[in-house]
């Protein structure tokens, strides 16, 4: 059995008096897309920030690539796409990619080729030399994803990557995630769009600071005796 890319055990996270995460247990294996779903404010982004070491857990353990987080060096092996399009909009798409490539420590010799590759994946090749301020919302999301993909990370962590984008682009992103999975790399993706959860290998339901359910979509539907993940979600919320 391969080692998990992410392994969280009894994770607790508090902000002041507010306990956002009570007991989170989650694992992402290589070649797996795990969807973390939950209503807005449930703590999905907090799970991700703890995984990346931006926040420190108040209890439990968070191991990423067999290393206890937080760990700075490890970040070079993770591709992260934030919830909002965090881009330098006075720079061009290429300048953004080059900058983050440098930050991730991608070798100078490979950088040009790698930028060309990720740009092709997100279909931005023709717009790379335009300033980001002239990009549409969808283009910004794609550039954001391209940055996350840069450097062939072993683990991709995407925080609501498909918010506010058109269906065609959403399909494209999912197709790319399938490629990542096929490479034997892992993906942790948060979403509050329930039908996206159907596309994952495993779904984790985050409610009340706990993972209420963590299984394959089909298994969850069976367990709750419903037809869609959305109904699973509603039922789980009712049980809570």
């Amino acid at each position: 059995m391969p080692e998990p890319l992410i392994d969280m055990q009894h994770l607790v996270k508090k902000f002041g008096d507010q306990t956002v995460l009570q007991d989170v247990n989650l694992a992402v294996m290589p070649g797996e897309i795990v969807g973390l779903i939950g209503p807005s404010g449930a703590g999905k982004s907090t799970v991700i920030k703890t995984t990346l070491g931006m926040e420190v857990a108040d209890g439990g353990t968070a191991h990423v690539l067999q290393t206890q987080m937080p760990n700075r060096q490890l970040l070079g092996r993770i591709g992260y796409m934030a919830q909002d399009d965090a881009l330098y909009d006075t720079l061009t798409g290429r300048e953004n990619l080059t900058f983050f490539g440098n930050m991730k420590g991608v070798a100078k010799a490979d950088l040009t080729a790698k930028i060309a590759h990720v740009a092709a994946v997100v279909d931005l090749t023709g717009d790379l030399d335009k300033r980001v301020s002239g990009y549409s919302g969808g283009m910004m999301r794609r550039l954001s994803l391209a940055i996350a993909l840069l450097g062939d990370p072993e683990l991709l962590i995407l925080d609501e990557p498909t918010v506010g984008i058109d269906p065609a682009l959403r399909r494209k992103i999912w197709a790319e995630l399938a490629n990542v999975r096929a490479d034997g790399r892992g993906v942790l993706i948060t979403t509050h769009v329930m039908d996206e959860a159907e596309l994952t290998d495993k779904v984790a339901l985050l409610l009340g600071g706990k993972i209420m359910a963590f299984d394959q979509p089909a298994a969850l539907k069976k367990q709750y005796a419903v037809d869609t993940i959305e109904e699973v979600f509603l039922k789980a919320e009712g049980v809570d």
Partner: protein, 404 residues
Amino acid sequence: MRTLAIAKRVTTELLRDKRTLALMFVAPILILFLMKLIFSANSTTSVNIATVDLPSAVRTELNGIKHVDVVAKKDNSAAKKALKNQDVDAIIRKTSTNQYTVTYANTDATKTTMVKQAFKGALSANGIKQMRSTIKRLGGTVVKLTATVQQMQAAQKVAAAKAGMAASANATTGSAKTPAISVPKVKVTTSTKIKNKYVYGDKDTGFFDKIVPILMGFFVFFFVFLISGMALLKERTSGTLDRLLATPVRRSEIVFGYMLSYGGLALVQTIIIVLTTVYLMGVEIMGSLGAVMVINFLLAVVALAFGILMSTFARSEFQMMQFIPVIIVPQIFFSGIIPLESLAGWVQGIAYILPLKYAGDAMTQIIMYGKGLLGLSFDIGILLLFLVVLTFLNIRGLRRYRKV
């Protein structure tokens, strides 16, 4: 080198932000220029004085003073009316012998001072004139006295001869022949010549010249503080800081990258501000121009570190602006524009924690007293200490956004 990559990116962003560039380079020059206009206008203040019952000699004397105009009023109420109508700035009234009442409008301290000095000057000038005529009169009296003495001596001689005391009288006559009292030549020089020598500047050196080294430093500090603070703030609010911190970059590399690019900008700005101040404004520098640049640049880098630090306490650009009255403005008061010795002890204490004080001190020493950098190691040392501590705090502070 991630530091270089960050510096390059920040610089590129800056160069594309024309507004900010204009703010950094044009605004300080414009403000310095306006200040020069305002402060140099001060030296040509003129006053109008109404006089009541003033001896015409004094009045003439007063009128002769530059930038002073005198109008004689027939009585006090007419003068008061003129004062009320703002036709005159002061009333001088003679109440009795050697008693004068001066009423000032006192809406402008400069004018009040000017009237005071003018009147004092006129009175003493008049006094000298009176003295001169007194001395002349005294001189006349002496001449008369001498004549009287001569007459008396002559009478004495006649009397002595008559008495037949020729032998003893001869001796007396020898000394009495030419009277010992010589009439002093009374000559009071009409214009007392005072030659003025200035250690710093010339006769046009005014308030502006005194505060200009400090103002120069202040502008460097203010603009660098604001803009560097804004930059990191934007990085944070736009989420790019989070994204940046999700890469293996060191927190110190981010801080140094920012310091490097903004440091370059600050260097250019410092050169522009210093050159403007020195050549366009015509400020004389006793010390070396290079030393002025070094101090200003050091101050700029401190401001840069300070701005970055303060931006971590602001949640928006507006909150960043709120630091201006709290952090920036007090620096001006304690930087030496107002002599610190005149303040209460505990207030003086505040000055010692403000970087602008040390830069202001050093700059004054260089510009006005011609000191070199070596003689200013204390001020420079403190500024460097500020820089090191602030930089350390900045690197620490980024821990808020990533725990490693």
